[in-house]
């Protein structure tokens, strides 16, 4: 039990949680404020991780330049996703994003091996980042090693800055317009605003925030593998966002931490259970992880049905309706 709690603490604060957290903040800008249904947030994270990793490891670029390249690529990706779909009904963006995320995963995992190294993924790009690490200790402090602690602090600072940015933006006229588009796009257009352009800006901003999630995940893990960015990723990010409550500045963070800690806690309980003789006959360790993910799917369904505003959201804020 103590191990499970400790694991929950570790995973709830760790780099993966930060990475998902940034993904969810990006989704919050897109879905929570602008009402854009992006099921392919994993694409932006994979672009972030892969482009940065490949530029450093293969191209020998400095870390910051590689990050700038990745951000540029994610802007281009957002344009590719948005230009054909943002004038259409909401489902088209959903379909195209989910499809492009899957295609990108296949491409990174199987093609251009010179840069992306197939299934093995990209490694060897963390030196520049780790050379700045002020921490230097052996063993672990609060379950985190020195390298983990460094990425943790940088990651949470990035999260905090992003949250401030989102908070300021959403208080501005720009943010009010996004919410107006979410509520009634026709009304916004009748006021002479270019809804298409604002939706595109929201998609790009959310994508770039997701791209930062890709940086943190890649630097924390010291590798990028395509399989990390499978379909599950986007659904988990969505579950986190809905759990926290879409359309609130802090909700993705709360959602991500609660979700990640709960997932880890339930996971270790289930794995312990699966090791017991009576239960192992119908649930081994692999199946335990499936049961855990089944619970994620079920949670997303139940939340969406019974409490679409999540834990902290405002039901009036999140008027989910197709247009």
């Amino acid at each position: 039990m103590l191990d499970a709690l400790q694991g929950a603490f570790h995973d709830g604060l760790g780099y993966l949680a930060i990475s998902y957290c940034l993904a969810a903040i990006g989704l919050n800008v897109q879905f929570g404020y602008a009402g854009l249904l992006n099921f392919g947030q994993a694409a932006f994270l994979s672009i972030g991780g892969y482009m940065m990793g490949a530029a450093i490891a293969t191209g020998g670029w400095p870390t910051l330049a590689a990050m700038a390249l990745a951000i540029g690529c994610s802007v281009v990706l957002a344009l590719i996703l948005g230009i054909p779909t943002l004038r259409l009904r909401a489902d088209y963006l959903a379909i195209v994003t989910i499809a492009v995320a899957e295609v990108l995963r296949l491409t990174f995992g199987t093609s251009f091996r010179k840069y992306f190294h197939g299934k093995d993924g990209v490694t060897g790009f963390t030196d520049g980042f780790r050379s700045l690490n002020p921490f230097d200790y052996e063993g672990t402090v609060l379950t985190f090693s020195a390298n983990d602690m460094w990425i943790l602090i940088v990651g949470w600072i990035v999260v905090a800055l992003t949250l401030v940015l989102v908070w300021l933006l959403m208080r501005s006229p720009w943010g009010r317009l996004l919410r107006a588009i979410r509520e009634d796009e026709v009304a916004v257009r009748s006021l002479g605003k270019n809804a298409y352009s604002y939706k595109m800006q929201a998609l790009i901003l959310g994508g770039v925030i997701g791209c930062f999630g890709g940086f943190i995940g890649a630097l924390g893990q010291a590798s990028v593998q395509a399989d990390l960015f499978n379909l599950d990723f986007a659904f988990i990010a969505f579950t986190m966002l809905i759990l926290g409550g879409a359309g609130r500045v802090l909700s993705p963070v709360v959602g991500a931490v609660i979700f990640w800690a709960a997932l880890s806690f339930i996971g270790s309980i289930l794995t312990d259970l699966s090791a017991q003789s009576g239960i192992s006959s119908f649930m081994d360790a692999n199946q335990a992880s499936n049961v855990r993910l089944m619970l994620v799917g079920l949670t997303l369904m139940l939340l969406m049905i019974f409490r679409p505003q999540g834990i902290f959201g405002d039901r009036k804020e999140i008027a989910l309706d197709a247009r």
Partner: protein, 448 residues
């Protein structure tokens, strides 16, 4: 790609294991409600995992210079980075099999001892005598090419007829899935992201009946289709109808369908593990050749059945009372209801028929692709591409779009690497959305 010529189908050796009786009692309680039908049926006879972790290195030595004659008596040596060393000789049929015990977890190096090759037989020029298999598979298959390369080199142009044939086959089977998605979308407006899992359901049920219970394949497919229809009814009456009654918005429903997709896919994985399953019969049928095209009777029969079903469904939509009611609901549910049409019954029927079609498509896809928990999730993207290209909600559009996507995916492999063929389909999707957002056959109303 999918219904490919059998010459290129790799035979696999699936294993079937028995389930403990304890599962039945437990799972019947654990999975109630929506998934009950699936869980109970599968648990009664599904597979479970093997406990042995020994690694097996195996392969077959065939001499291509002498009409694929087996090469016996060749020493194969496996060394592990942990220091272990294991040797074996190839048998009379050229096979070798070396067991590496589970306690040895080192990286393996497989070497063919050249001096033990018979006189006059040699490794293919330029081919190494050592292999370093990567990955953590327990079953490591290594191959050493012996003798000259006898493979004929086809030109790209020669492959075009075969690609068109494969593309048509795949497209027609794909349209079974696309039609179901399009019908549900047409009547309820829901883009069902869990539709791919309905395809997987058909494939897994066929596997269950054919491989685990040993029923003949035709009966197994029938069984899968009937169960799929029941599953479709359950989907609608257990989940979507209550949501419609609650007045849940379409975007919320789409997110619910994503959650359902996640739930179902993990349930499938719970039962099948990560393994690739194959049916018991007609997995590698005998190919026949006309000109540049390899075909099999199995594929022709599958296509014939698919076409029959598609024609039957479209005729029913066109001429039967229920079909007309369906089209009325698709046009305007409120108006249809006011003329006395029972809208909920129509939608329920659409779900039943649509899921049965998806299940049939899944059962057919299971022949050429192995049955995995991801089967549907992968096909879903192509189904989406097909319905959007043809026109969301249009019956003919779904079929036309599927055939176009099938042909496009197959023909694109002549130009681009085959791993990227799905990317080609997505490019086509994006181009169509840019140029003609309502799809080729969609109604040219405003969709945004």
């Amino acid at each position: 790609m999918l219904l490919q010529s059998p010459a290129r189908v790799r035979p696999s050796e699936p294993t079937v294991r028995t389930w403990t009786a304890a599962c039945t009692a437990w799972a019947a309680r654990a999975f109630a409600g929506l998934i009950a039908v699936f869980a109970v049926v599968t648990i009664a006879a599904g597979p479970s995992y093997a406990a042995d972790d020994d690694r097996v290195v195996q392969g077959t030595l065939l001499n291509t210079a002498k009409d694929n004659e087996p090469v016996p008596g060749v020493t194969i040596k496996v060394t592990s980075s942990d220091g272990g060393s294991y040797t074996s000789k190839s048998t009379a049929d050229g096979k070798f099999r070396i067991v590496v015990p589970a306690k040895d977890t080192g990286n393996l190096t497989v070497q063919l001892v050249k001096s033990t090759l018979p006189d006059g037989v040699d490794l293919r020029a330029g081919s190494s005598d050592t292999r370093k298999p990567t990955g953590s598979l327990t079953n490591v298959v290594v191959s050493f090419p012996i003798g000259a390369d006898q493979r004929q080199v086809e030109t790209k142009l020669d492959q075009v007829p075969q690609s068109i044939y494969n593309g048509l086959l795949f497209g027609i089977v794909l349209s079974l899935g696309a039609l179901g998605l399009s019908m549900v979308f047409g009547t309820t407006g829901l883009t069902n992201f869990a539709h791919g899992e309905l395809v997987t359901f058909g494939a897994i049920m066929t596997y269950l009946a054919n491989r685990v219970w040993g029923l003949p394949i035709a009966l197994s497919i029938l069984f899968a289709v009937v169960l799929s229809a029941a599953f479709g009814w359950l989907n609608d009456s257990g989940l979507w109808r209550p949501l419609r009654r609650r007045g849940t918005g379409l975007i919320a429903m789409m997110i619910v369908s994503i959650g359902l997709q996640f739930l179902l896919r993990n349930i499938y994985q719970y039962f099948t593990g990560g393994r690739s399953l194959t049916y018991r019969q007609y997995v590698t049928p005998e190919p026949h050749t006309i000109g540049f095209i390899d075909y099999t009777y199995r594929d022709l029969i599958l296509v014939a059945i698919s076409l029959l079903v598609l024609v039957a469904v479209t005729l029913a939509l066109q001429y039967t009372r229920l079909g007309r009611a369906t089209r009325a609901v698709a046009d305007n549910p409120a108006l249809a209801a006011s003329t006395g049409i029972n809208v909920n019954r129509v939608i329920s029927t659409v779900w039943i028929v649509g899921t049965a079609l998806a299940g049939l498509g899944g059962a057919f896809l299971g022949f050429s692709q192995s049955v995995t928990y991801q089967l549907g999730a992968q096909v879903l993207l192509l189904i989406f591409a097909a319905t959007c290209v043809g026109g969301l909600g249009s019956i003919w559009g779904a079929m036309l779009g599927s055939v176009i996507i099938g042909l496009f995916v197959e023909l694109s492999t002549l130009v681009i690497p085959s791993q990227l063929k799905y990317a080609g389909a997505m490019v086509l999707l994006i181009v169509v959305l840019l140029v003609r957002p309502q799809g080729l056959l969609g109604r040219s109303q405003r969709v945004g």
